[in-house]
């Protein structure tokens, strides 16, 4: 029944209850350590939340949300709007490409091609975000002359989130039973029509989950934005290039190193807002997943 673990397996069979108490004690010890590890992880999560939420919530007020940053004080309106704009741009770019790519890998590609594409997508998702940022900087900011801009930053974020959207789209389409597709094809539909009318409905919650995760990842990123978005004390405009844009993670990173209490407070408030948004996105994802996709 069991092979490959040799002596370790025989020990418990061979002894006649002599070493049993010892082994029992060892199991209890090991499980205690496991529970301690679990408790430690939970405590760390709580500690992170407390250390950010405690100080961050103090600074939260309607005024902070509706005032622009001025130097080391003021509010976060420009950063909040900037983050939202960047997410919007990157989702507009990465969303359609990602969903189409996922459709290809789930429905049209044969398994060998899909396998290769999946590997490549995974490798792209493993590329460090700062490398993508550097790439965006030399190509878009310098070579194409866009300067620090919403478009350069949005495209960098799109590159970063694209693999997640592709993979979640693919896996949620693959979870739809094969019989759905076969039934649609048997009715004379093309695979495109089948996708549009039959497959999309059960797969939609999964695809939306992927998009939300991508938003959550993109929103928390800093490294790819430092040298593509720049920073601006003013609210974003719809000018796509040659116009730096502010974002929330920048405030957390830079203002913490400023020697002013007002700057620290802004950093904590920005961090609190980020955690709040991540939390809301995670709850949305949970709700989407709970809904049974298939009857």
């Amino acid at each position: 029944m069991i092979n490959g673990t040799g002596s370790a397996i025989q020990a418990p069979l061979g002894d006649n209850g002599v070493r049993r108490p010892l082994r029992k004690a060892r199991a209890i010890g090991a499980w205690s350590i496991a529970f301690a590890a679990l408790a430690l992880v939970v405590v760390v999560v709580i500690d992170i939340l407390i250390s950010v939420v405690g100080k961050g919530a103090q600074g939260l007020s309607w005024k902070v949300l509706t005032t622009q940053t001025s130097g080391i004080s003021g509010g976060l309106e420009n950063a909040i709007l900037g983050t939202l704009m960047l997410i919007l741009v990157s989702t507009i770019i990465a969303g359609p490409i990602g969903i189409l790519g996922g459709v290809f890998m789930a429905l049209f590609a044969n398994s060998a091609v899909a396998n290769v594409l999946r590997y490549i997508t995974d490798i792209l998702s493993g590329v460090p975000s700062i490398v993508i940022g550097y790439f965006g900087y030399t190509v878009m900011v310098v070579q194409w002359g866009w300067g620090f801009s919403m478009l350069a930053a949005g495209i960098s974020l799109a590159v970063l989130t694209l693999p997640y959207i592709i993979r979640t789209t693919e896996s949620s389409l693959r979870q739809v039973p094969k019989s759905y597709m076969e039934g649609a094809l048997a009715l004379g539909m093309t695979s495109t029509t089948a996708l549009r009318t039959v497959l999309i409905r059960p797969a939609l919650p999964g695809i939306l989950t992927g998009l939300l995760l991508a938003v959550s990842i993109g929103m928390g990123e800093t490294a790819p934005l430092i040298y593509t978005a720049g920073w601006s004390n003013f609210n974003p405009t719809f000018q796509m290039v040659k116009n730096p844009i502010g974002y929330l993670t920048y405030v957390v990173w830079t203002y913490l190193n400023e020697p002013y209490a007002s700057a620290h407070q802004l950093a904590y408030t920005a961090a609190f807002l980020l955690i709040l948004i991540v939390l809301i996105l995670h709850i949305l994802v949970r709700l989407l997943q709970r809904k049974p996709a298939l009857q």
Binding site: P12, A27, W31, L38, G101, Y119, L124, P128, I130, A223
Partner: protein, 329 residues
């Protein structure tokens, strides 16, 4: 009907192009980085990876010097060994601390925690994976670094007479150990959630068989479930390692941002390759010869190659990790 088929074909083509876009991005990315990195490699050669000094040269000089056909500021030297050591060192510390905790957590979650409690704990751990890295940096700076400075560091340094690397001075708390600790927390959710999913796929029968043969519950996990899920879990560990190697912001905030200096003890300030790119691009732009920016591209290429390799290895292990190893049902 004809038009219908045409749109169908067009749609298929569009999806194909979209699916190929990651490949296109990777090719363009590698091409641009290699092109940008070439001058730095021609100037510095292999000593780029073994040198300790990073010096952009004399910025007030009138004329750039020329070496191997590349213009550089006089006295420029680009050695990234401290960044390589910082990257590898902090990520190894993260693995040493994070992997046992992550695995034990997964064991507890799958085999011992009652499902009603696991339903609460699992999302909490997944939330840990979603927290932005600047917030880990913030937490590292304000909570972990002071703890290392006043608590853990002084305590560990008592062991200094046995292990010289642990000896004082502890410094400001910003450094190798703190980076490792923060990275450990960041990779735990990656490893725990993969290990949990893999352990759940282990067929129940062999585990119950092991119990019936008189194994304790932990022995059955160790000798039956673990061999089954081992390769996949190792893949997840390497995946987490890749994440730690490429992490920028958290390390930048808690590493002490050191350069030209190899860590003398566990608490020394360090910098990693990713953090170095982020922190030095600003100053590199002031280099009139432009070589410093090329040198940063060479760091990026190095980092890209390392993370690609670890990722490839990890994905291969995860993909084939679910296969039966040593257990036949």
């Amino acid at each position: 009907m004809k038009r219908h088929q045409l749109t169908s074909k067009m749609f298929r083509l569009a999806t194909g192009i979209a699916a190929g876009s990651p490949l296109l991005i990777l090719i363009v990315l590698s091409f641009v980085l290699f092109r940008d990195a070439m001058p730095a490699f021609r100037y510095q050669g292999i000593s780029f990876f073994t040198g300790i000094i990073w010096n952009m040269g004399n910025m007030y000089a009138n004329n750039p010097i020329v070496k191997n056909g590349v213009q550089a500021a006089p006295g420029a030297a680009f050695g990234i060994l401290p960044f390589i050591v910082g990257t590898i060192g902090s990520s190894i510390i993260a693995l040493i601390i994070g992997v046992p905790i992550a695995l034990m957590t997964a064991f507890a979650l799958v085999y011992k925690v009652p499902p009603s409690l696991a339903k609460i704990v699992s999302p909490v751990i997944e939330l840990l994976a979603g927290i932005p890295s600047v917030i880990y940096g913030l937490w590292g700076m304000t909570v972990v670094a002071p703890w290392v400075e006043y608590g853990l560091g002084p305590w560990l340094s008592h062991l200094g007479h046995m292990v010289p690397f642990l000896a004082a001075p502890v410094g400001t708390g910003l450094g190798l150990l703190t980076s490792g600790l923060v990275l450990a927390v960041m990779i735990i959710p990656i490893i725990t959630s993969t290990a949990r999913d893999l352990l759940k796929q282990v067929p129940t029968l062999p585990v119950e068989g092991a119990l019936a043969l008189g194994m304790t519950s932990f022995e059955s996990v160790l000798h039956v479930a673990w061999p089954w899920a081992k390769r996949g879990i190792i893949g997840a560990v390497i995946l987490g390692w890749g994440r730690a190697l490429g992490e920028t912001m958290a390390v930048l905030m808690v590493s002490g941002d050191a350069a030209n200096y190899l860590p003398a003890n566990l608490y020394s300030p360090i910098s990693s390759m990713a953090a170095a790119i982020a922190s030095m691009l600003d100053s590199a732009l002031t280099d009139f010869s432009g070589l410093s920016v090329h040198a940063l591209a060479l760091i990026a290429v190095t980092l890209l190659l390392i993370t690609m390799l670890t990722n490839l290895l990890a994905r291969l292990l995860v993909q084939f990790g679910g296969r039966r190893v040593g257990v036949e049902v």
